[in-house]
């Protein structure tokens, strides 16, 4: 299934099947057969390692934004020593523009549960936690119900499918903190603390939850696992773009006619997503810019988008990233100064305050942006903003400072005229 052929793609994560969230409907549609295969079909999967190898071969690149090969990540877990090991599933999606994992919680929770169980088995994990942002109260309740149903059917709990493998599965609700989507911050939050990201090393695979080996995966990433088991790594690798294969949940929002979450192969042309999938620009306006994968990924001007597809290689050509594939579409009337100020406001609000450059830098960015937005800025403030981003980037424990810095740098660079026009005329820079 090539990217170009996206119109013929049949969704696997969120197929249009009525009541798929109910466990018996999921079962009727082949649900939990992948779990059964890995646990009982010794000819196909003689041991846990063979499961990891299959997933590694599929090259499921982490759908939480970092894009790391999930199977490879699983292989970093140290050998089991009889003590507890954890899988922490990251359902904290809070990056502006990102609203995809909730579709899995709502429409197909069991595909995620099944994927998580396969991952847990492959890594000999004893307990799974799914961390869901506190605002998703409805989805938390849905997930709790789905997990209970799976417990009742014997897919979770003791001696699953008579394989001797046992695992527990719990939901943990967040309480309003974007930073908890950062994997080590999420571990702190799971442990009941303030969500301060941890210094690495040690990495979670060595010392994660309660000092024990832990793997953290995004919800969508895990939801892809059953189809990799059922259809094979080769099938998955054959979907979409070569270096970023598989189906993707594209979350499209902003000035389009049909915003929403669409499951399509990776590598679909950005302009197809805007004009065809999402039904084109609202009110017949012209496209001005696209943020491809959540607010931290650099914005791209419409004139840069010809031939650009939604995969990491192609996006790199225009200096941006895949991120979470949460695409924010902006029309010609969009005020880029206002838009950027709102992003700086977000990161200022969400900085945990642990590291100096982020705690101080995010606030400084917002305050200077506010000045510019209010028409009180000077051109030298634009250069100051660029300086601040340089001073923040790569200097902190986690990537929030980077995420705050990139949109500032790239929006100013790519829409400099618009920013200068907003600055006070009287103090225009001398050449």
């Amino acid at each position: 299934m090539s990217s170009a052929d996206w119109k013929n793609y049949e969704p696997v994560l969120i197929p249009q099947i009525r009541d798929l969230h109910k466990i018996d409907v999921y079962e009727k549609n082949g649900g939990y057969s992948a779990l059964k295969t890995v646990l009982t079909a010794k000819d196909k999967f003689p041991d846990q390692k063979s499961v990891i190898e299959e997933v590694k071969a599929a090259n499921i690149r982490g759908r939480g934004g970092a894009g790391f090969n999930a199977g490879l990540k699983w292989s970093f877990m140290p050998p089991a020593d009889g003590g507890p090991r954890y899988l922490a599933c990251n359902g904290d999606e809070s990056e502006p523009g990102t609203f995809k994992d909730r579709k899995i919680f709502e429409y197909n929770p069991h595909v995620f549960i099944e994927g998580a169980l396969i991952a847990a088995y492959a890594m000999q994990i004893t307990t799974i936690y799914v961390y869901i942002r506190g605002e998703y109260r409805a989805y938390i309740q849905m997930m709790e119900k789905a997990i209970q149903d799976a417990y009742d059917k014997g897919y979770i709990g003791k001696d699953i499918f008579g394989s001797g493998y046992s695992v527990d599965f719990h939901v943990h609700s967040g309480a309003g903190a974007y930073i908890c989507g950062e994997e080590t911050s999420m571990l702190e939050s799971l442990e009941g603390k303030r969500g301060y990201p941890r210094v690495k090393p040690p990495f979670p695979a060595q010392k994660g939850l309660w000092g024990r080996p832990t793997t953290i995966n995004n919800i969508e990433t895990l939801a892809h696992v059953p189809s990799v088991i059922n259809r094979g790594a080769e099938w998955f690798k054959g979907v979409g773009a070569e270096n970023h294969p598989g189906p993707i949940l594209y979350g499209i929002s902003g000035h389009v006619n049909r915003p929403g979450v669409y499951e399509l192969p990776s590598g679909v042309p950005v302009l197809d997503l805007v004009h065809e999938v999402a039904g084109g620009m609202r009110n017949g306006k012209k496209l001005k810019a696209v943020i491809p994968g959540g607010s931290s990924t650099p914005v791209v001007r419409a004139d840069q988008l010809d031939g650009i597809t939604m995969d990491s290689d192609s996006l790199r050509e225009v200096g941006t990233m895949m991120g979470t594939a949460g695409m924010v579409i902006m029309d010609e009337d969009t005020d880029m100064v206002d838009m950027l100020w709102r992003i700086t406001h977000f990161y200022h609000h969400e900085s945990c305050g642990q590291c100096t450059p982020c705690r101080e830098g995010t606030g400084w960015l917002e305050k200077v942006m506010l000045k510019i937005k209010n028409g009180e800025g000077e051109v030298k403030d634009l250069d100051l903003l660029l300086d601040i981003t340089t001073q923040m980037e790569g200097r902190t424990i986690c990537a929030l400072a980077d995420a705050a810095a990139w949109p500032v740098r790239h929006t100013i660079t790519r829409f400099r005229d618009e920013f200068e026009a907003r600055c006070k005329k009287s103090v225009h820079a001398v050449a």
Partner: protein
Amino acid sequence: MAYEFTKEDLQEIEKIKAKYPEVKAATLPALWVAQNRFGHVDENVQKLVANTLDLPESHVHGVATFYTQYYKEEKGKYVLDVCTCLSCQLCGGYDILEHLEKNLGIKKGETTEDGMFTLNEVECLGACGYAPMMQITNDQYVNNLTTEKVDKVVEDLKNGKVPEYEQIEMPLRNVK
């Protein structure tokens, strides 16, 4: 004011504790139990949670103040959290916020005199495709807001009618 957990709350907290190897991990869920019971987790409730879990009060205070969804003071009966972040901003989130400010006669961050509504401007709630939107008291999402829709929601709330969960149909792909 002295706060006490009911027997059911305490049973729930025991169940929560059993999910984790260490009691500290129960801090966030126990604060949720408390907020669901008392409507907020002010300093007295924080103390109750600390004592119930046998954790330092400072720890519970530090956690409660880190997370924005915990109300550190009493709020209105309905808390209207209007998202104005990025996609919502682009789709008119600020118009909704301003409309509500005018309609309720309060500024963001304030509570109406009758104690019915607290109005907040919040960060991304993960409903970007259904912008602009708001959340009611940490629970129901109300999507695709227009000023008319907001007015109706407010009227309904005044009459004690909380909007139901809005199922958003999966978008049908127009081509196949």
